[in-house]
């Protein structure tokens, strides 16, 4: 598989030696929408700032589009578009002028300006000062600025931050469209699991400066199919709990039902027989499967 971003052994610490990132390994497949997920303060932005060269690297390697970032910074940046944290926009300039500032540097055709403004739905307000834009419009303009030179790769740090639900849906649809129609690979960070679940094809989860999961959404869904326990419905929960305690089986009863761990199927069948033999009626045995949120919480709390 070809990867447009390959990060290996990335570590970073502040000047007071507080470690922020520890041995980050990250691989973004070509053509993927890679969701970089983690709670606030996990190290997402620091990772992205290191990848884009906004922070000086201390340890590790970053390869983008098959080249070392350290050695080929300019060539890589020519093919990459970035939106790091809040949108960086010159508010005293119009939307079109903001893009013109970048067009001069990239020396791409001027026609790209209207093209990207149309893509993000800002063509009608191209001459309006960016300072008068709503946050959603600013985010879209920042995305247009990142896409102006037709990059092969987009690096977006929480681009939906501060957007209302409608804005989030619009941004998500826009990113899917860009990825599908223009074949642009996208690395997008977020702390919102549902957002990434609906958008990404691949996923990396970071917690406390460490990568705790990396794989496709299917692999994560595979974890979802795993049974994390069984719920028992009995006619006499108190007697059932006594029997389970005697067998030293840990239980959870906070839902009013008895939850036992994910024992082998044979052990569950045996447990059922024992309960019935003790005169306790069992009218339900229900497997409990993982939901994504639980998996995510388990991963970041591990």
């Amino acid at each position: 598989m070809n990867y447009c971003i390959e990060v290996a052994g990335l570590a970073y610490q502040f000047s007071d030696n507080t470690p922020v990132l520890k041995d980050i390994q990250l691989r973004v497949p070509q053509g993927a929408i890679y969701g970089f997920l983690g709670p606030n303060g996990a190290g997402k932005t620091t990772t992205l700032r290191l990848i884009t060269g906004l922070l000086r690297m201390q340890k590790g390697t970053v390869q983008i589009l098959g080249r070392s970032f350290r050695e080929h910074r300019l060539e890589i940046l020519r093919q990459t578009g970035s939106l790091i944290e809040s949108p960086a926009i010159y508010e005293h300039l119009s939307a079109a002028e903001n893009l013109l500032v970048l067009q001069r540097i990239y020396q791409c055709p001027k026609s790209n300006i209207m093209e990207v403004l149309q893509t993000v739905g800002l063509a009608a307000v191209s001459n309006k000062k960016a300072g008068q834009f709503s946050l959603g419009m600013k985010q879209r303009l920042a995305l247009a600025m990142a896409m102006l030179h037709h990059p092969k790769l987009l690096i977006l740090d929480e681009p939906t931050n501060g957007l209302d639900p409608n804005g989030i849906i619009e941004m998500r649809d826009l990113l899917k469209k860009i990825n599908r129609e223009q074949g642009i690979s996208i690395l997008i960070s977020s702390h919102l699991l549902p957002e990434i679940e609906r958008l990404a094809t691949h996923l990396g989860i970071i917690s406390k400066g460490r990568m705790v999961f990396e794989g496709s959404l299917e692999q994560l869904s595979g974890l979802r199919q795993q049974v994390r326990g069984y719920l028992l419905d009995t006619t006499d929960n108190a007697a059932a709990l006594e029997l389970l305690a005697a067998q030293e089986i840990p239980v959870v009863t906070d839902t009013g039902r008895i939850q036992v761990p994910a024992l082998p199927v044979a052990a569950i069948a045996e447990l059922n027989s024992q309960l019935v033999q003790q005169g306790i009626g069992v009218y339900g045995i229900q497997p409990v499967k993982n939901d994504l949120e639980t998996i995510f919480m388990d991963l970041i709390q591990a």
């Binding site: 700032r49 906004l54 300019l74 060539e75 970035s82 926009i89 500032v101 540097i105 990239y106």
Partner: protein, 253 residues
């Protein structure tokens, strides 16, 4: 070289509609307008002044006296800070530093825009001083066109000296603007240094203070002989220091 030209074009676009441009225009127009107003106030002397041989000399002296002592150093502080802080106020250092440009190119392009604005200010000021001499002749029938030829060489050389005198201010303000991601701090330090310079003007070693040369020129007409090297030296030292600090900055946005 091409990358530098494209970078300057990009930086030049950013100053559009910015306060720095309006300050430059205002700075180059304000003093000549006041002088013109004063000339019209003493309406009865207009004809005699335009007929005198030292009209341009007096306009030069009055113009640069106010300009050099107050407006030029203040303008240098404000315009340099405003241009440098454009990225900070727009939260755009991170945008600029992920564009495919060498940091050296960015550094030079920003400095170029500041120096071009400064040159534009000098040009505007000289044109406006010229207009204070000729406008009365255009609008008042009895006032003759200035009889003395316009002393281009004197104006050019004077502007050159003031330009040299304000370069240390530009370089140090540029350094501070790049160093601090905060608009008020560089501005405060600049104003503090200006006030300190005013207070130290009569000091024996005043020529060692980097912000003082415009005031010296405005006050005495000259920078003490042999010390022209000082503003040029300060400019070089501050500019190189600014470059080193900028390049070595760990966080680029």
């Amino acid at each position: 070289m091409l990358a530098y030209i494209f970078s300057v074009q990009s930086e030049w676009l950013k100053r559009k509609n910015s306060a720095a441009v309006w300050l430059t225009i205002l700075g180059g127009t304000f003093v000549p307008l006041i002088i013109l107003g004063v000339r019209f106030y003493h309406f009865d002397q207009l004809a005699a002044q335009n007929a005198s041989a030292d009209l341009w000399e007096r306009l030069y002296r009055h113009g640069w006296q106010y300009m050099g002592f107050l407006l030029l150093p203040m303008g240098g502080i404000l315009v340099t800070s405003l241009i440098t802080q454009l990225e900070t106020r727009s939260n755009a250092w991170k945008l600029l530093h992920v564009t495919p440009q060498r940091f050296t190119t960015i550094f030079l392009a920003k400095l170029t825009v500041i120096l071009v604005l400064l040159l534009f200010f000098f040009l505007l000021f000289n044109i406006n001083i010229y207009l204070t001499g000729v406008v009365p002749a255009w609008v008042v029938h009895d006032v003759p066109y200035p009889v003395a030829p316009f002393p281009w060489i004197k104006y050019l050389s004077g502007s050159g000296q003031f330009l040299l005198a304000c370069l240390p201010i530009v370089a140090l303000q540029y350094l501070l603007g790049l160093l601090y991601r905060n608009f008020m701090l560089p501005l405060g330090i600049g104003l503090g240094l200006y006030i300190a310079s005013v207070m130290a003007l009569s000091w024996k070693y005043a020529y060692t203070i980097p912000y003082i040369y415009c005031m010296m020129l405005a006050n005495n007409g000259v920078i003490p002989s042999g010390t022209y090297i000082m503003p040029a030296g300060y400019f070089m030292v501050f500019a190189v220091l600014a470059y080193i600090l900028y390049i070595r900055k760990k966080e680029k946005g």
